[in-house]
Point group: C2
Chain length 280, copies 2
């Protein structure tokens, strides 16, 4: 199979590595906005060649958009209008509703299947690409009923080759669930990093004590704005709902601490501990 990978950063680059290794793709053409990125992806062996967008898409059985969602929004309709029968387009973005709206009613709509590989690190760019990034993680296929059966099969094959477990979900539910389990975690982590960095101005040595607990909770705050600002903006309604719910729980903790209410605090912590059921 011939593959076009638009965006050769953490997600696109890691996918390309594994898809080549697994024999899913015979040839992978990369598309990059910036010449330095393209050169680096070639040098790192992530893709076999780089080409302009139209050329790469024309030659590809399967085109993967692996760019931030704000970049994907204008690109996706353009790519989709170009493909014919037998060609499939997917994206790997973290929000789905705005992309679905951008292609709704498009003549080639059925050649597109919106998907999301729930994997990543806090790093970005071609040098962040790594093998087995996706193995064992969840790959989500959205609104499959709007896609042609062979397009669904092509994207299923892609995610299976990456070693992912497949889940089908409509775009609306996808965006609601990711707001709570992924996007909220990032907002929480950014606020924590900002708080302690701010305090560092008065208390220079404060990070001497930053051990494993802080590192774990603040890890996502290393994630870059080019990816995360568009995610927050494209999932604004659900994320605001999640943030308000979060603030309610944070306020309940704060009030219990302020009142010195040991039973209330014990109860809140015991309820939070139920997360062991999920995290093991």
């Amino acid at each position: 199979m011939q593959l076009a990978v638009i965006g050769m950063g953490l997600i696109g680059g890691s996918a390309a590595l594994d898809l080549k290794r697994a024999g899913f793709a015979e040839r992978i053409i990369g598309v990059g906005r910036r010449p330095e990125t393209a050169a680096e992806a070639l040098r790192l062996g992530l893709v076999d060649a780089v080409a302009p967008l139209e050329e790469a898409v024309a030659a590809a059985d399967l085109t993967i958009l692996a760019v931030p969602v704000d970049a994907a929004l204008p690109l996706l309709p353009r790519v989709l209008d170009q493909v014919g029968e037998g060609q499939t387009v997917t994206d790997m973005c973290s929000t789905k509703r705005t992309l679905m709206a951008a292609v709704a009613g498009r003549p080639r709509r059925a050649r597109f299947l919106g998907s999301h590989a729930m994997a990543g690190t806090e790093n970005s760019g071609p040098r962040a690409a790594q093998p087995d990034l996706f193995r064992g993680k969840i790959g989500i296929l959205c609104d499959t009923e709007a896609s042609a059966p062979d397009a669904v099969a092509a994207v299923e094959g892609l995610y299976r080759a990456l070693g992912m477990r497949l889940v089908r979900m409509d775009a609306a539910r996808h965006d609601l669930h990711t707001a709570y389990v992924s996007h909220l975690s990032h907002a929480v982590s950014y606020a924590l990093a900002l708080t302690v960095l701010d305090k560092e101005r008065d208390e220079a040595a404060i990070f001497n004590l930053a051990g494993g607990g802080f590192a774990s909770t603040a890890r996502l705050a290393k994630s870059g704005a080019p990816m995360w600002t568009p995610i927050f903006m494209n999932n604004q309604d659900h994320l605001l709902e999640a943030l308000d719910a979060y603030r309610g729980h944070l306020d309940a903790l704060r009030e219990a601490i302020a009142r010195g209410d040991v039973p209330a605090l014990n109860d809140l912590i015991a309820r939070a501990n139920d997360i062991r059921r999920i995290l093991g």
Copy 2:
């Protein structure tokens, strides 16, 4: 050296394991409130014997209090009143000011050195004890000028045997810094777990998507109330200050998202990314 370890859970048990292995202690007597805990610590080989408090302290060159801070508060003056010259007492609690106040002016005050091993996991009890829990982490010695030089030396030896890097700090600064880098992280994580668990009642499948980002940010929410409620209560003022600062940053993020203010959000995230300077 003869050691008494009061509390044979994650912290006391892990310390006992390493101190025996390192040859720092010839014999370790454990003290446990509950007979089952004592029996389990013996069975796991964490201590050489168990004994009642007074008996263990009387025989010990160095007594370590490794119990939650609310349990340490009444115990510490009692233990300290019992020891003589040549005997040293330390604690490994996560807050220091209330313990310092509990022994201020006590006849044997100079035999006590308040300390804090900045290490742990989200698990508790004797079975959570593990070797090398403390290695390479920070051990804090508080208000050393209030302790006899030989008591300081004994506790320094203890932490060196555990492989810790030593930092000296007054109790007030210790509590302020840990409020920001440790206690706030736990509160943030509890609120995140409560939020997503709450949403799970309406959206049963929500945790299907809970990947590495969520697991990292919510990990500390597994930590138990018997340890953490007393920490929050004993550092109430600083933690409330940290929580209010945190809420200010969270609100700034929320407002930027609500306004659709891309430059403001980019700026907040870029500032948060400075945490890479600390976390690497």
